[in-house]
Assembly symmetry: C2
Homo-oligomer: 336 residues x 2
DNA sequence: TTGAAAGCGCTAACAC
DNA sequence: GTGTTAGCGCTTTCAA
């Protein structure tokens, strides 16, 4: 079994007697060719099992029809859903997708962006690693590669389609306060910008209910994983004035906290209400007694893809950057 | 803000007074250049903010340093983990990754493979969509693009690194039989080849324990999602001789079944033992009372990436295809 | 030690 | 309607 020579435009040209140019036009369905020649060429190309070399085409066109996606961590179900939706939408639109994970490290985010630039992707979708260090992302956009953020980065001036975290947190807080909770702990992963907004949303609900500021206590979980949610719980419950409700900045943190409660004889949601962020689609069959804010990752992904593709089509028009925030829904899980 | 001209090799050449060729060599750290010139060139390139056009390089080299990954469904936690691990390993090795989902459709799998071929990826990792329809995958390999399967496809003759499903199922079955279960239902998603092996493994355990064949009843869940696991349960429990243990061919199916049991007053694992497939890393903090077979997606991914890269380096050597099966571990969840 | 020239496979501008 | 020519940005002989 040999390396096998791939059929090239030239081969099809020779086989049909037409020039490379004509073949190229035929394959791309140019209207200025008579049907007869086009059909002939297509048939021969088919027979020779020809398919275009996308790399060569990209070089000639100065466009790869490829979009890069940089996520922090694909194991986060929200981002998994985002990745899936983005891939689907891009495929539908005839685009390819390159994927890279930053693992919430600004350094690897930087490397991923550089790699994508080098690969000449037509555009980049970024779920950013850090809420204040984003100069390198801005630099990519300024260098001419369209960039779209999937989480808000205040002051970046970059195109954005994201969840309105403040509104979401406000909703959860209202819900919890409505249930009579008077001491709410927030488990803050401590990474993304959204957490500021989440705090702000909770505080707003508290103020609005006329309750004291210290109704909210914030704990830094130093991470967003279940493990870290589990580990921070002793500190949370060491407070003599223990909270009766928890708002976790990620769903994984909430799961860890839930496990800790289970192991320590605290019934959920009986003695402790736990709220996190999630996606309807992901959690439809969850059996966990968590209240969640629907992160709507699929929605922002769909809109985000549409936006960046739209920008590519109007590349020269240089549309101004725009921020679009989606207000999340609350899902109160029926299980107890 | 203008489209901004990117710095090219030619620009660096002009700026330094050297030829494009010399610059190219310097940037790739050729030893046959004196340090002085190399340093000068590197400095100027840095100043001009030069970075190579990977597309042009790929065309010249006839190699893209890009690997394609085709998964059925990235929402499956096992495959999410696989995607993450594969991305990590590839990045480490200086490769880029393109990603596509087949959604368990042979047609879109075919399209994804074609796209990848067109994009000239150096190799393709496939988690196949169907256990019998794989001619199109073989065709890709025969056309000269190295292909590696992440699930066994009997008779394909393709390079494979996968989980030994039969061994895994055998282990679960032994475990359940050891607990005294005498009626085991298998929830079969009905898609992948592995399911035959899973059935075979369970039967082997049953035979070995000297129990009658009908200890195992197979139910087709017509899908692998939680929803489908939930929906198939009434049929499973309609049997007058109800099973006391369930082996689900995917973890999501198990979750759906678990939910059904919860809603129908059947305690798990008290009145019903449920086993599924999963990954240690994914389920470390799960609170669900499931027994799982560790699918070790990260392990097969790591090995798989190493294998395909190794093949790329020895492209001309044409190493023979090889199948490597990893025996999975059993994880009996402590929670009740 | 460095440079000139050709070529990777395709597209595009302009002839004919 | 179709062919010719040049060129995308880089690498790679082969000379000097």
């Amino acid at each position: 079994m040999k390396p096998k020579p791939k059929t090239k435009l030239k081969d099809v040209a020779k086989a049909t007697g037409f020039s490379e140019n004509t073949v190229s036009l035929a394959l791309r369905g140019s209207p200025r060719l008579p049907e007869s020649t086009r059909d002939l060429i297509l048939r021969v190309a088919e027979e020779l099992n020809y398919f275009p070399n996308h790399i060569a085409r990209s070089l000639a066109n100065n466009a790869t029809r490829t979009i890069g996606l940089v996520l922090t961590d694909i194991m986060n179900p929200t981002l998994t859903l985002a990745a899936r939706t983005i891939e689907r939408e891009l495929t539908k639109a005839g685009y390819g997708m390159m994927f890279a994970a930053s693992d919430t490290s600004v350094e690897s985010e930087k490397r991923a962006l550089l790699r994508f630039q080098s690969y000449q992707v037509d555009g980049i979708l970024v779920y950013p690693a850090h809420h204040r260090k984003f100069d390198h992302i801005v630099a990519v956009a300024e260098a001419g590669t369209p960039v779209l953020l999937l989480a808000e980065l205040r002051g970046s001036g970059l195109d954005t389609v994201a969840i309105d975290d403040m509104a979401g947190a406000y909703k959860v807080a209202c819900h919890l306060l409505g249930l009579g909770h008077r001491r709410i702990a927030m488990l803050d992963g401590g990474f993304m910008s959204g957490n500021d907004d989440k705090r702000r949303g909770i505080r707003q609900a508290i103020r609005q209910a006329g309750l004291p500021t210290d109704t909210l206590i914030v704990h830094n979980a130093k991470g967003t994983s279940a493990t870290q949610g589990y580990r921070v719980m002793p500190a949370v419950m060491a407070d003599p004035n223990k909270p009766t409700a928890l708002v976790a900045s990620t769903d994984a943190l909430a799961t860890g906290a839930l496990r800790w409660c289970g192991e320590n004889g605290i019934s959920v949601p009986g003695q402790m209400a736990i709220a996190g962020y999630d996606n309807t689609e992901v959690s439809e069959f969850s059996v966990l007694p968590l209240t969640t804010v629907n992160y709507a990752a699929d929605e922002i992904s769909r809109i985000g893809v549409a936006r960046i593709l739209h920008r590519l089509e109007n590349k020269e028009a240089r549309l101004p950057a725009e921020t679009q925030l989606i207000e999340p829904e609350l899902i109160v899980r029926a299980t107890t």
